[in-house]
Symmetry: C2
Subunit: 345 residues, 2 copies
């Protein structure tokens, strides 16, 4: 085997072509404005380039240009192990697709893993992401400190999903849960449901806050009645509340998640009530294959969100002057088999 030879540099090309290094640089970057290189010289240089198999050094270019057409993807948990049917996969689909379209490569930041499976952006004080011109961040276990620090550093990034951090405004691509929740209440009202209930998750992440805001607004706007503890911020889905529910005036329930809806169904079944016969149920979450029922629910356009994240990021990267803005992405409401007209008893 030939011994490892040094990769050719511009100076080598220059020597071979009998010109100066800067001439080579100009030809390569196609700098036609400043200095028009005569066709003759140009040819010689180009020939030398292919002769020597010259390839520009990416690192050196970045150093000069402060850009390498590289976009980072940082997930706060490892991507692939869970990707098959979950959360990340569709986002990545859109991210990859759009990145290819706009001509950027993607860096998957994986080396920052800690033993507990969580991933960090900063490792011994250094921000790995800096390698890319900008990054898309996603993950449920978002580290808000790191987010704040990143924002303070003015590093260009977008987060998929809304994340509020005091003192920093994070550009996010977020599903419009509020709007979708409102739309779901609309469909219930349109069918004639007047008394409805709300079942909440014990989390107060932004996405749930959004759902609640949309729900409450719609209930108020439509003049519906909701006497459920869930709507007032108390945990519900207790045995007592279920008893109360089946005995009460409610004809429909809105659940924040499939998990809750499934639990609700079990509880109702135990009390001889069926869905949607006795009670309609709608879910404020995308439904995955494999759940026990075809829930009426909303659909998060994950792939589209991935694409939009790239668009937003590229905008920031290409024009650092503009501050990032968040993007609200509408969710579709998909009909299922768990909402019907109210029972008439």
């Amino acid at each position: 085997m030939t011994t490892k030879r040094r990769a050719p540099r511009q100076s080598d090309v220059a020597r071979a072509a009998g010109v100066s290094q800067s001439a080579v640089s100009r030809v390569i970057s196609g700098d036609t404005d400043t200095a028009r290189i005569p066709e003759e010289t140009r040819r010689r240089i180009l020939d030398a380039i292919s002769e020597l198999g010259y390839v520009p050094n990416a690192a050196a270019r970045n150093l000069r240009n402060k850009s390498n057409r590289l976009l980072g993807v940082h997930t706060f948990e490892s991507v692939f192990p869970h990707a098959r049917s979950d959360f990340y996969f569709e986002f990545l689909l859109g991210i990859e697709e759009r990145a290819e379209e706009v001509g950027y490569d993607l860096v998957l930041f994986t080396s920052t893993g800690t033993r507990d499976g969580r991933r960090r952006i900063y490792r011994d004080g250094t921000n790995r992401l800096n390698l890319a011109d900008g990054s898309v961040l996603l993950g449920v276990a978002t580290n808000r400190e790191e987010l704040a620090r990143l924002a303070a550093e003015d590093y260009p990034f977008v987060h998929i999903g809304r994340r509020e951090v005091p003192g920093a405004d994070i550009p996010c691509i977020v599903p419009d849960y509020a709007d979708a929740a409102g739309a779901i209440v609309d469909t219930l009202a349109r069918r004639g449901h007047r008394d409805i209930a709300y079942v909440r998750e014990p989390f107060d992440q932004e996405s749930y806050l959004d759902r609640r805001a949309g729900y409450e607004e719609a209930v108020r706007r439509l003049g519906l009645t909701d006497r459920s503890p869930g709507a007032r911020g108390e945990p519900n889905l207790t045995e007592e509340w279920l008893d109360d529910l089946v005995a009460g005036p409610e004809t429909a329930v809105v659940a924040e998640s499939v998990r809750l809806a499934e639990e609700l169904r079990t509880g109702l079944a135990a009390r001889g009530a069926t869905i949607p016969g006795d009670l309609s149920v709608a879910v404020l979450e995308g439904v995955w294959p494999g759940t026990s029922a075809v829930w009426d629910c909303l659909q998060v356009p994950r792939k589209q969100i991935g694409r939009l994240a790239i668009d937003a990021l590229v905008a920031m990267v290409e024009d650092p002057a503009q501050r990032a803005r968040s993007v609200l992405v509408p969710c579709e409401v998909v009909p299922g088999e768990t909402v019907a007209d109210p029972r008439t008893d």
Copy 2:
């Protein structure tokens, strides 16, 4: 919003700490050998660093170090669109996992797409891969010219799957199809099959060549008889051949792919023959969920191959002196429901 400020550099830190820039550099790279910085100075520097929020510049580092702990992944077709259940996914799983373990980040080269969905390594003469210290290549539509050029350039890379290119030896991580094919013939022979047939794909890619080599070797070694055109390199699975097969002495068939096996089954059924009642069938390919039968087949350890690819690559990258070697990865033979003892008629 604060106006975009220049990121702090080592010289800024140095000034703030009242030391020289090289001292800063030493503290940061933890250069304890050459020059031990007194705890006092060290503190001052560290303080200045966190004060200013200094972050090392990746590009500059690469330029010096000629390494950025970045491994590339280039697929000759787009990854995600097909990834869900296919080919790429498991490889990526292993690649990501192992890269994380050894502390490298991954660059997904996506920017080189052409309108026809194919991806190229070289775009207007420049090799994007150069950005990473080394790359893993995969894809069915491997571009051999590019492979050759890459090898000629001495760029560190490994290919998943065997690829031969005249004049270059490509380091590959390859499933040991030959061995697995032999093992499958062994199991048939062990059951008492003496007359067997082979059904081939109309492709002559390396992976098929390997299967054929392993098959032929085993048939010879075990003294079995194979009079099928498939074994001699002619296309088979024609109507005539099927007629011949059901009338002939063969009690088992080895098919190169699930596709062929399925077709075979259809053809046999049309002739009133069943699998494995009349004829045993084994497949020289991993079987995906969703096929019509539980074929006896081999299993390509995709995830493991991904991990091994990273190991091989890292070895090349960290010691450029050593020439890359290919790695043969054993495949398991998994029993199904399509191989039985030979019919005794």
